[in-house]
Structure formats: structure tokens, C-alpha cells
């Protein structure tokens, strides 16, 4: 699974990265998590509210940081 966390240095963005890492670890998924901080790259996903979460090229979350359980549910789908 290819997971991208879109967002620059804001607190929410770092929180999303943290929760995502936790969720992936707890679920034991084989995934690479990358943080995308470059604006033109962020815009390629059509996202206007950061942070956003992209899984295998699809935006599944934007503008909010989910709770660990919610995120695990989303990643399991």
C-alpha cells in the first residue's frame, strides 16, 4: 500500500502523519508512508485543505485528523 500524507509543517499535518504511522503499525499492513510537502505536488491531488491522506493515489481524507480507530477502519477497506 502506498500512503501519502499531504501537508506542510502545521500541527494537524504532523498529527496525521503520527496517527497514520500508528494505524499502519497496529494493523500490520505492508505500506510505505511518505510526507508530501511540496505545494505543486499537493495540488496534483486536487486538495485545497491540508492535511490530506492519499492511499494508492486516491484522496480518502482532507482537512481533518481522524481518530486512530476511524483511520484503521478506513485503511482496512
Amino acid at each position: 500500500m502506498d500512503i501519502k500524507v499531504l501537508g506542510t509543517g502545521c500541527t494537524k499535518c504532523n498529527n496525521l502523519l503520527k496517527v497514520t504511522t500508528e494505524a499502519v503499525n497496529e494493523l500490520g499492513i505492508d505500506a510505505t508512508i511518505t510526507k508530501v510537502e511540496d505545494f505543486p505536488k499537493i495540488m496534483e491531488f486536487g486538495v485545497m485543505t491540508t492535511p490530506a491522506l492519499v492511499v494508492d493515489g486516491k484522496v480518502i481524507l482532507k482537512g481533518s485528523v481522524p481518530k486512530l480507530d476511524e483511520l484503521k477502519g478506513l485503511l482496512n477497506q
Binding site: K12, F39, M43, M48, I60, L71
Partner: protein, 348 residues
């Protein structure tokens, strides 16, 4: 918005909860004064009339009052905002003419969910989709300046009239500044790479939200916002309560008082390097007013802290050339000065 993606499913009766809580809210709200009196006079057993007693009474009354108002307003605004998304707002504003576009952008700036940390992606997304530069600026000025927390606190501490004038003048500044930026055709002062940005508009289908989802986003908004700002509110009211009854007249009152024409511009100059949200700045504003600073000057200070800030300007430098930043800061500052003067000299 997308947070609702996560929130849906589970219980389908969330919409009942606000209906159940409303009577409790009303009962509490109309009985705040008796409760505060009971706590001060009976439970704490303080003698009426002393300065300390009245300070404590004011605090015990004011904190729950402002909290109750905040919970109600943030909840309602949270629900209203679930009807608006950045994507929908952008669609409305695409290719809009000047003025009409500026008015709409400023109004939408109030109701569209916005966090200053995503100002740049929003700017890029708007410009790329063909929203005129001036219209985009109207949105970016109105969104942080006019918000529900500022409104509630202004109502709580200074009354309805001041709050209403704040919203009206804030809208005026957003509309006017954006309109001027459009009028002067400053597009060439946007960094060139901005126009090369391509965004993917796929997968922007609207998420269907039920009433339950909206109620849940209302509650989520209350939790998120109150969690961030409660401490500022308590400090602000404590300061207000402490100053209650004193009649101070000191250096600040002389410098930023009404008789000094340079009070307003000076307050704005002090305000720009400061960065805070509405909740954090209101305690300071209430101290300023208690210390004899005139209302117009204090509000101008508040607007400049919220709407113009050094960190934001540094972020904007990534997408704007300095000429446009200077124009933006200059125009907004002029607007705020005008508002300050109107308050100080006309609405006495």
C-alpha cells in the same frame, strides 16, 4: 466536509441529542445570575458589596455565560459549515466578476470551513480554477477575520452592537481590499510557478450527508474549537473581572486613547507582528479597553492581529511577489485604520 466521511454510520439518532440538550441549555442560561449569586453569597459566604466579592461574582457569572454561548454558536456554525466545502465555494466563485465576486467571496469566507494553515493550497486551488485574484483575496481576508468565536466574545464582553459593527466593517474591508487588488490588475505579481500548477479535479463528487452527519460535525466543531480556546476565554474573563470597577488611567490610555490621532495606526503597527487567533486576542483587547484605550483603537488592534500577521505574510511570500504583499498589507491596514477612526470619532 471530509471529516464526515469518517463520522457517518453507527448511531442514527444523533439529531435527537441537541433537542434534548436545548431545554437544559436554556434553563441554565436564564438562571445564570441566581446561580452565580447563590454560589457567591451562600456557598462561598462572601459579604456583598466589597470589591473582591463583586469580582468573583462577575467571574462566576461570566465564564459559564460565555461558555454556553460559545457551545451553542460553535455547534450551529459547525452544522451550517457542513453545507459548505472549499470545492463548492470555489465553483461558485469561478470567473465571477469584480465586486459581485468580492461580496460573495467575503460572505462565503465566513461560512466555509477554513484553517489558516491551508491558506496556500486554497490560494493555488482558487487561482488555478480561474477564481479572479481579487476575489480570492476577499475570501482570504474575510475567513480568518470574521469568525464565530470572535463574534461570541465580542457579544459577551462588549454587547451586540459592537459585535455587529465588527462583522459589518470586517466584511467591508474584505470586499474593498479584494476589489482594489482586482482593479489594479496585480496578477503579474503572483509568482510565475503558481500559474503552472495543475490540479486534478477528479474524485470531487459530493459526499451525501444526512442530518445525523451534520449534527455530528456540529459536536465535533464544539469539541475541537473549545478544546483549543477555553484557556484563553478563562484568562480573558479573569482579567476583565479583575479590572472590573477599577478606573485606571495610565500610559497606555494616554498613548492609545481617543485624543491621539495616531492611536489607531500605532495599534495596527503593534498588531501586525503579533500572531494570535480571535480567542487569544480578546483578553488583551479587554485589558486595553479597561486601561482607557478607546474602542476603535482596540478593535483596530484586534483586526490587525487576526487579519495581518507576520507568519502569514512569510507563508504568502511563497506564492506572491513582494509588491503584491505590500499592496495587500497596505490596503488592509488602511481599511482597518478607517474602521478605527469611524469607531473613535463618529460612533461616540
Amino acid at each position: 466536509m471530509s471529516q464526515n466521511l469518517v463520522l457517518s454510520e453507527k448511531s442514527n439518532r444523533s439529531w435527537l441529542l441537541p433537542l434534548l440538550l436545548l431545554p437544559i441549555w436554556i434553563l441554565l442560561y436564564i438562571n445564570l445570575q441566581p446561580i452565580a449569586d447563590y454560589l457567591t453569597d451562600t456557598v462561598l459566604g462572601l459579604s456583598t458589596g466589597t470589591h473582591l466579592t463583586e469580582t468573583i461574582r462577575f467571574f462566576i457569572f461570566e465564564v459559564p455565560k460565555v461558555m454556553l454561548l460559545l457551545v451553542a454558536i460553535i455547534f450551529v456554525v459547525g452544522m451550517v459549515r457542513s453545507f459548505f466545502t472549499t470545492e463548492k465555494t470555489r465553483k461558485v466563485l469561478e470567473g465571477k466578476s469584480l465586486f459581485a465576486g468580492n461580496v460573495m467571496a467575503s460572505l462565503l469566507g465566513i461560512v466555509t470551513p477554513f484553517c489558516s494553515c491551508s491558506a496556500i493550497p486554497l490560494f493555488l486551488g482558487f487561482v488555478e480554477a480561474g477564481v479572479p485574484l481579487g476575489v480570492t483575496f476577499s475570501f482570504l481576508i474575510a475567513a480568518p477575520m470574521i469568525n464565530e468565536v470572535a463574534l461570541v466574545l465580542l457579544v459577551g464582553l462588549f454587547g451586540w452592537k459592537v459585535a455587529a459593527i465588527y462583522v459589518a466593517t470586517g466584511l467591508f474591508i474584505a470586499i474593498f481590499s479584494g476589489w482594489l487588488i482586482g482593479k489594479f490588475k496585480l496578477e503579474k505579481y503572483v509568482e510565475d510557478w503558481v500559474y503552472q500548477v495543475k490540479t486534478n479535479h477528479e474524485g470531487e463528487q459530493e459526499q451525501k450527508l444526512t442530518l445525523n452527519d451534520r449534527v455530528k460535525s456540529g459536536f465535533a466543531a464544539v469539541k475541537e474549537t473549545l478544546g483549543k480556546i477555553w484557556i484563553y476565554i478563562i484568562i480573558g474573563i479573569a482579567v476583565g473581572a479583575g479590572a472590573h470597577g477599577y478606573v485606571p488611567e495610565d500610559l497606555m490610555g494616554q498613548l492609545l486613547g481617543k485624543d491621539n490621532w495616531y492611536g489607531v495606526p500605532l495599534a495596527i503597527l503593534i498588531g501586525i507582528p503579533m500572531y494570535s487567533n480571535a480567542a487569544g486576542i480578546i483578553p488583551i483587547v479587554s485589558v486595553l479597553i479597561e486601561k482607557g484605550v478607546s474602542l476603535g483603537t482596540a478593535l483596530a488592534f484586534m483586526m490587525s492581529v487576526i487579519a495581518l500577521s507576520l507568519p502569514e505574510i512569510i507563508i504568502l511570500k511563497k506564492v506572491l511577489k513582494w509588491q503584491l504583499i505590500a499592496f495587500f498589507v497596505g490596503v488592509v491596514a488602511m481599511g482597518i485604520i478607517t474602521v478605527g477612526f469611524i469607531f473613535n470619532y463618529i460612533m461616540v
